[in-house]
Amino acid sequence: MKLYIELFILGLPIAGVFALIATGVIMVYRASKILTLAQGAVAMFGAYILYQLNNDPAKTGGKGFGLTIFIALPLAVVLCGALGYAMERLFLRPLRDRPVLVSVIMTVGILALLTAIAGHTWGYDRLAAPKIAPEGQVRIAGITLGYDRLFILGLTALIMLAVVYLFKYTTLGIAMRAVADDRRAALLMGIPADRVSSLTWVLGSILAGLAGILLSPIVELNPIILTLIAIPAYAAALFGGLTNLARMVIGALVVGVLYSIVPAIPFAKNNDFPGERELAIFAVVIIFMFVTGKSVELQEEEI
């Protein structure tokens, strides 16, 4: 039992990271009705950007500029934002008057491009991801927890609070919601809708990049694996109907904890059940769809 409690708690920071990725997905969806499938690739890219900035070839080999983490991290975040801006500006804005399906396929193209670039630049071998969290561990009530996990949990909680504050209480947040509801009306109210939707891409990419940076030491630094790790985050976004942050956080908790616990469940551990973790998440995606499917259908094609 203790094992499960421990795994449950270990799952919370993972849930937090999923929530960061999903928040970006939701932001973009709300502002432009596009489901971006590139979010995982942006997370992966963010992790590699930090690696590139921080890694010191003299010490650990590989590529890199060897900047200290205190410079590398903010710079990586800025670069992720720039990446988001570029994606929106160059690839998605020209598609605005085209069907949503086209934009979604475009995000698949971006995903393909980013993973290919990362693969060719840094290779497909596992790399040692830079650690941004303090090392060491703490024992609370008989459960051992790494500082890194606590750090991630705290950081994601802070970021989520900031996002909620931004959405609910700032002019910018209100503008974002207005653009999401009715772009044309928002424009008539003098809201620079273009700038608002670009901003959602910037913020979404920053969140994804941070998530990738936080996840890569836990999972591994590999272009494909890190990209696909966003799938549970999509499940969470789905649970929030691609719009609702609070429900998304609940969804993120479910998938995060599952992600952590499933491999330890006995029948899965004996390897009788192949791909248990992924299959469990897939099952969750399906269940979430049945929970939220109907409401979204009506949104998309009004009768």
Binding site: V104, I105, M106, V108, A112, L113, F282
Partner: protein, 648 residues
């Protein structure tokens, strides 16, 4: 499908037969790879290009096919043609499983579901040893028949290409039959498809099954080609690659799959080996080209020719147009089509006083208009003397229908009936709940309480397409045409219910399907000429004037041969003369074709002109009913709706 000219067809067949003998053996090898890729892309074309469902799990499905075939070969000694069918069947079953979720959800969610599925299957393949052999995969012995040893690619070529061509031909048959039309309809508007009697659920699942079967067969062919199947062959990157090449080739057409596959295999073999810096960079280029294609030319490579032709045609048309003041501008659109494109359905606005939809010289038009208004007046005055409703049993009976949206009561115990042979109207101020009620009659909404009876049956809970089958057709206030199809094709979708031929007959284009097809074409032509839209038959719907669009939607409803037509504000957006022409057509529809008409309309002039009987709603409740002249003078109606002064 391959080509329409018989001579070219024979040349092509001879070329394909001679191919492995003329060219070096590495070309035969490339040809085999191409054929496998063609089938893979074809599955994407069907699902994404034709039905509008994004699937990122095609590689996983291909893997299911390959591993199934491998296990059958090794354990049951089942070889190529047989294990290919089994592989297709297995992949189709899995695809239907995914498709089941697509029923609940729409395109966007499906992308997530298929992504998660691909991810899960990849992990399963790696660990599920009995099925996939784990990381190293499964190996099989090269296929050997008493006559020939297929480890020689030149012989394998004669196995895979005929299979590919057979499947292509069958898919082309499906595309040209009611199945294909149903798919195209679903892609544009599921709601419209339902109202035409298309069982959206079944047709979506069918698309998943067909697409799954094809990629499963491709998987088995790939197995025979490389004599092994490993999880890495069917990973996520492969799924993305399929989508990318399909878009690059042209995702709306079979030719796109063929061209995309040839281009990919050729450049993989020759272009990417040209220089060191290009080596192994196909993934990079696939991603980049996918983005480039979407931005520059969504119809893909096969669209280039069409684009050029259109540009030439446009130049030509511009020259001809000089001197003519007005003209109908057809939006350029391609047959092979920017399949992903859904042009917006905004008709070129017909300003007041513009020509009526039926064209002709100005003088003729004026005469025609005068005659029309005289005829209309005759109809209306004939109706004016009729002061009682037919005593026949009601065709449509709505009893105490209540519909709530959250706290808002859109319909509050609304009741009315429509008798056969009538033109019955439902009117009321904006927000009275007319369209909501219509959606309920039509099945798009299920009422919270109350009942709807049609032709003596309780249909309150019946599916939309089931109601269409009973003889109910409708048009929409905001039209739901299929913008990428031509006018003729739009009407052809309406013939869906007039087909009895099954899937098998469609697949093989049997005589039955052909006869039905001919009959339907004639019927569509008849309706088009009755409506006076024959001249637009081959035009794409997007960009036609509003008045024509209204007629097309009416025509599409008419070809379903309905007992009752539900028209939702058919005159909105029409000018006076167009409205008159429309009214006359409605009389024809009722008197000559015998359809009962139930109409929601805001244009009081039209309502008073054509309706035999009226129901008035206000704030979701029945306010009044009666013959037009009575309703017109009913003080409650005047107060609620017509304002202080009565309508002229």
């Amino acid at each position: 499908m391959l080509t329409r000219r018989p001579l070219m067809r024979w040349v092509l067949i001879l070329f394909l037969i001679a191919f492995p003998f003329i060219f070096p053996s590495n070309w035969a090898d490339m040809a085999v790879r191409t054929s496998i890729l063609v089938l893979s892309l074809l599955s994407v074309v069907i699902l994404t290009g034709w039905v509008g469902q994004i699937s990122l799990a095609q590689a996983a499905l291909m893997g299911v096919g390959a591993f199934t075939a491998a296990q059958l070969t090794n354990h049951l000694n089942l070889e190529f043609p047989l294990h290919a069918i089994a592989a297709g069947g297995a992949a189709a079953a899995v695809a239907i499983f995914i498709g089941l979720f697509a029923l609940r959800i729409r395109g966007l969610y499906l992308a997530i579901a298929t992504l998660a599925f691909q991810w899960a299957m990849e992990a399963s393949f790696l660990e599920w040893h009995p099925f996939s052999g784990g990381f190293n995969g499964v190996k099989i012995d090269p296929l050997k028949w008493p006559c020939c040893d297929f480890s020689d690619v030149k012989l394998l070529y004669f196995l895979v290409w005929p299979t590919t061509i057979l499947l292509i031909l069958m898919v082309a048959n499906l595309r040209d039959s009611k199945t294909g039309r149903a798919w195209f309809a679903i892609r544009s508007s599921e709601v419209a498809a339902k109202t035409l009697g298309i069982n959206v659920t079944n047709y979506k699942l069918l698309a998943f099954a067909v697409s799954g079967f094809i990629i499963g067969v491709a998987g088995s062919m790939n197995l025979n080609y490389i004599q092994s199947a490993t999880p890495l062959d069917y990973n996520f990157q492969r799924s993305i690659l399929f989508l990318a090449i399909a878009v690059l080739g042209g995702i709306g057409a079979i030719a796109g799959a063929v061209v995309g596959a040839i281009a990919y295999v050729f450049s993989d073999q020759y272009v990417f080996t040209l220089a060191d810096f290009l080596k192994d960079k196909t993934d990079l280029f696939a991603g980049g080209l996918l983005i480039f294609t979407i931005l520059q030319n969504p119809a893909g490579i096969i669209g280039v020719r069409e684009q050029l032709r259109e540009k030439a045609a446009e130049r030509h048309a511009r020259k001809e147009r000089r001197g003519q003041k007005r003209s109908i501008v057809l939006e350029p659109a391609t047959e092979t089509g920017a399949a992903l494109e859904e042009p917006e359905l905004v008709g070129a606005s017909a300003d007041a006083g513009g020509p009526p939809p039926v064209s002709g010289a100005q003088q003729d038009r004026d005469d025609e208009r005068k005659a029309a208004s005289q005829r209309l007046a005759a109809y209306t005055s004939a109706r004016g003397q009729r002061m009682e409703r037919s005593s026949a049993a009601p065709m449509l009976e709505v009893r105490d229908v209540t519909i709530r949206f959250g706290g808002v009561v859109a319909n509050d115990a609304v009741s009315y009936e429509v008798r056969p042979g009538e033109i019955c109207g439902l009117i009321g101020p904006n927000g009275a709940g007319k369209t909501t009620n219509f959606n309920c009659v039509n099945g798009l909404l299920v009422p919270n309480s109350g009942s709807v009876r049609f032709m003596g049956q309780d249909i309150t809970d019946k599916a939309v397409h089931g109601r269409a089958k009973l003889g109910m057709a409708r048009t929409f206030q905001l039209m739901r045409l299929f913008p990428r199809l031509t006018v003729f094709e739009n009407l052809m979708v309406g013939t869906h219910l007039q087909n009895d031929s099954g899937f098998g007959s469609n697949l093989l284009m049997l005589g039955r399907t052909k006869t039905e097809d001919r009959r339907n074409r004639d019927r569509v032509k008849e309706v088009m000429s009755m409506l006076g839209i024959s001249e637009h038959a081959e035009s794409r719907v997007a960009g036609l004037p509003f008045g024509i669009l209204r007629l097309i939607e009416l025509g599409r409803a008419l070809v379903t041969q309905p007992r009752m037509l539900l028209l939702d504000e058919p005159a909105s957006g029409l000018d006076v003369s167009e409205t008159d022409a429309f009214a006359e057509i409605l009389f024809k529809v009722r008197d000559e074709m015998g359809h009962t008409i139930f109409i929601i309309e805001h244009d009081m002039r039209l309502v008073m002109m054509i309706c035999d009987y009226l129901y008035v709603l206000e704030f979701g409740r029945n306010l009044a009913e009666g013959f037009p002249q009575d309703v017109q003078s009913n003080p409650a109606v005047i107060a609620a709706y017509l304002g202080e002064e009565s309508v002229a």
